[in-house]
């Protein structure tokens, strides 16, 4: 196992390096740079000084020089300065990351809380009315765009019923660190979480349902039944164990989701997170931030795959990788 993990990590290095070159080249191929359009916010901005700044910030150097500089700093943990935010990328990401992780984590947990029971019900009693209702819900959730759904949730529960706050991550008037503060934080999480979770369940439900239906017909289940194992135990011991495998394996990948965040939900609920930051940085050509974010999510995908493999080998002793 250890050698497996080590090997995977070693393979990661060239993968990430290649990714970084591609990202860097693509970023540089985009027209404009962080200073393009600076005059929009500041009409008196002086063009000569802008040129001088480009020189100072190294925007005019050939790409390999810029890349070399960037990589050297990156491996030392320095991701550079964000021109737009005038801040080290590391501290900028730090601020946003906690928000995004919190939101994504609750969303993910809620998705599982909804999807696993529903998937089991739909699979166990397939073709019943409950199954049909669940499948219908699946169609609905897969077809509904998140930006519409989030707005509807916001208008119904935020504005009409006024049950939940309508945006932002916390009520600023509440003292930091008090009990009320945490309640307020949790309260602010409810709507964005539900908006993401309720329509994010389709994949998991469908996987689980199909797998259960498949497994139900397998020989070992028939054997179990023939042995006289009670129906409930057939499901918990024999079917579910097997059917939950792909879900467990999928969990590793979900890590990627954790840090990429949702642009739409963050934007609609004015929730400062990484998803929005990514889009904003692309639009403003804030390359240091874009590259850092892509590298991080790239690394997350690779690590996520590895985790998936590890989880799989733990839950399914038949799969042993070395």
């Amino acid at each position: 196992m250890l050698t497996f993990i080590l090997r995977r990590i070693l393979v990661m290095i060239p993968q990430l390096l290649l990714l970084s070159v591609i990202i860097f080249l693509l970023a540089k191929a985009m027209p404009g740079d962080a200073l393009t359009g600076a005059f929009q916010g500041n009409p008196e901005a002086n063009a000569e000084h802008m040129e001088e700044l480009r020189e100072k910030l190294g925007f005019n150097d050939p790409w390999y020089e810029q890349y070399g500089r960037w990589v050297t700093n990156f491996v030392q943990g320095d991701m550079g300065m964000s021109y737009v935010h005038k801040q080290k990328v590391t501290s900028l990401l730090g601020n946003r990351l906690s928000n995004t992780v919190l939101l994504s984590l609750t969303t993910m947990i809620t998705i599982y809380l909804i999807a696993i029971p529903l998937g089991i019900i739909a699979g166990r009693w397939n073709n019943s009315w409950a199954d049909k209702a669940i499948v219908t819900y699946n169609y609905f959730s897969i077809a509904t765009p998140v930006f519409i759904f989030a707005l509807i949730m916001l208008f119904i529960f935020g504005f009409y019923f006024s049950w939940f706050p309508t945006g932002r991550s916390v009520d600023i008037t509440i003292q930091n660190g008090t009990w009320d503060y945490f309640v307020s934080k949790a309260n602010h999480l409810v709507l964005p979480t539900l908006s993401g979770a309720i329509i994010g369940t389709a994949g998991t439900i469908q996987y689980l349902r199909n797998d259960i239906i498949d497994t139900k017909l397998k020989d070992f289940v028939k054997t179990a039944r023939a042995k006289g194992v009670p129906e409930g135990r057939v499901y918990t011991r024999h079917i579910l164990r097997n059917s939950l495998l792909p879900i467990a394996a999928f969990m590793g990948y979900e890590i990627t989701l954790l840090i990429s965040g949702s642009v739409f939900i963050e934007s609609i609920f004015s929730y400062p997170g990484l998803g929005q930051l990514f889009i904003q940085s692309i639009q403003t050509r804030d390359f240091t931030v874009v590259s850092a974010l892509v590298m991080i999510s790239g690394a997350a995908v690779i690590i996520g795959t590895m985790l998936s493999d590890i989880i799989l080998s733990i839950v399914d002793p038949r799969i042993r990788i070395d």
Binding site: L53, H85, G158
Partner: protein, 613 residues
Amino acid sequence: MGKRQLMLLISLMLALSVFLAACSGKDDKGDADKKDPGKDEGKTEETEGEDAAEEEELDFPLDVSNTGETIEDGTLNYALVSNTPFEGTLNPVFYSGRPDAEVMQFFDEELLATDGDYLITNEGAAKYEVSNENKTIAITIGDNVNWHDGEPVKASDLLYAYELLGHPDYKGDRYTYTIYNVEGMEAYHKGEAKEISGIEISEDDKTITINYLEASPSLMSGIWTYPVPRHYLGDVTKGEVTIDEIVESEKIRTTPIGFGPYKVEKVVPGESVQYVRNEDYWRGKPAAESVVLKVVNTSSILKELEAGSIDIAEVPADQYLNAKELTNVDLLAKIDLAYTYIGFKLGKWDEKKKENITDPDAKLADKRVRQAMWHAMDNEVIGEKMYHGLRFPATTLIIPVFASFHDADNPGRAYDPEKAKALLDEAGFKDTNGDGIREDADGNEFVLNFASMEGGEVAEPIAQHYIQNWADVGIKVQLTDGRLHEFNSFYDMVESDDPKVDIFQGAWGTGSDPDPEGLYGRTASYNYSRYTSEENDRLLKEGTSEKAFDFEYRKGIYDEWQELMVEDVPVAPTVYRYATTLVNKRVANYSIDQSSDNYYPWKWGVTQKDPVK
């Protein structure tokens, strides 16, 4: 088969139910309004009475209708309407985006106040005196002006701003004309001098004297008077901190100080800011006990206003129609510091000489063709149909905001397709082969490539509208690459004089200085049309000359310049725009009129605890 049809039916029903839910949402709104009509009635009448009395020229009021007494312990809820978090660089020297400026307005301000023309006055926290043929300005800071930590605002704090702006390590975009025009600034900027020789500080550290290389009326509107708290941030010139450290510091991010009416109590990065009253404010006691600023998404801002959770918000133009329907708010609007224009490429930017070179053989070199194209554009329709009256046809290149410099008698070039055709005929652009499209004066095919930016749902219809307008007079115009361009690639093409672009639609924010040199001068790289002429050079120079300190003289020069631009048409201004602000009816002493006393945040207050719903 039967199953599938059932599925289809169910999904259809679901889809329908979504629409129904949306509809019922609207009905609810109606109900909510009906619930407490008594509450608003008295106030509504006030509004109407007041509105009529206000400004006749404008269709919109500039001041709120509520004239009641503000309460002592009120909280003002201010919305920063944006789809992205604010960056949070809360220092006038270092910030880059407008959102941050909105955050700063409550706790920081300029030492010199400005009037309706954005010219400096002696009404602010400091007084100024000009001497030495307008080349020297002495600014004396009032005795009662203190930073939020109790330290007095000193002349050396203002000097500090200049030291930061000119510093070799400074990476912001505010090293502008009014900064590098200071004597000795260039040497300091290059690192050759330790101090800025042109700035002197008085003994008592209350008066700062700034000497300029050349006298220019631009200084009267563009002079930098935001001080920076040296004692709080640390001194870069003494090596206590570096500029990068200041920029990174929490002292300009979550615990900034200023000398404005409110102190920053707390910042939740990117989403909200809480301010409390600054009892020590030099103008007096600020009206509200606290202010809460929240970032609100454009899609929910109207709902927030309707629910009363937001008192003041600037609302994007595309929501105007719905905004009009709200009954618990006042709708204020004024002309924005910006205009949209169509530019005609007439030459190239010479990188070596750093100046614009006009090409006499350019495709659009004949000014009659440009005049015709301006006459052919129906901007009235754009303003009416696509912006619901929030934009209106532009006439000259100095916007009406500069009331004293905008030539209201200059009609520009109104929509007149017949005149356009006549001008084209006169220029020899005739349809020689009978296909309905004009050929150029030599009988060659004449097709123009039009670059326009994407953004918002009206960008495409507007571009198509102009193309149709020009087709109506026989000029064939097509979109560059057959599509609209993203912001960055658009400016990339226009800046580099890409031959794929003959005409382009852009917009300028004008800033507070009416001087157009930066956008239309011979050495201005933002002069994207690359238009130059002797007369233009002369007028722009005169407009900021020593003589132009004489108001009437400057006005005369700018009238002449506006006339020249209407004659030569390097760019055709298309529309001016209104910016709309919605204000809850519990807010009093609020104005968006630059010359009003109520323009300043310390006056803004609420007259009752609960918002008007």
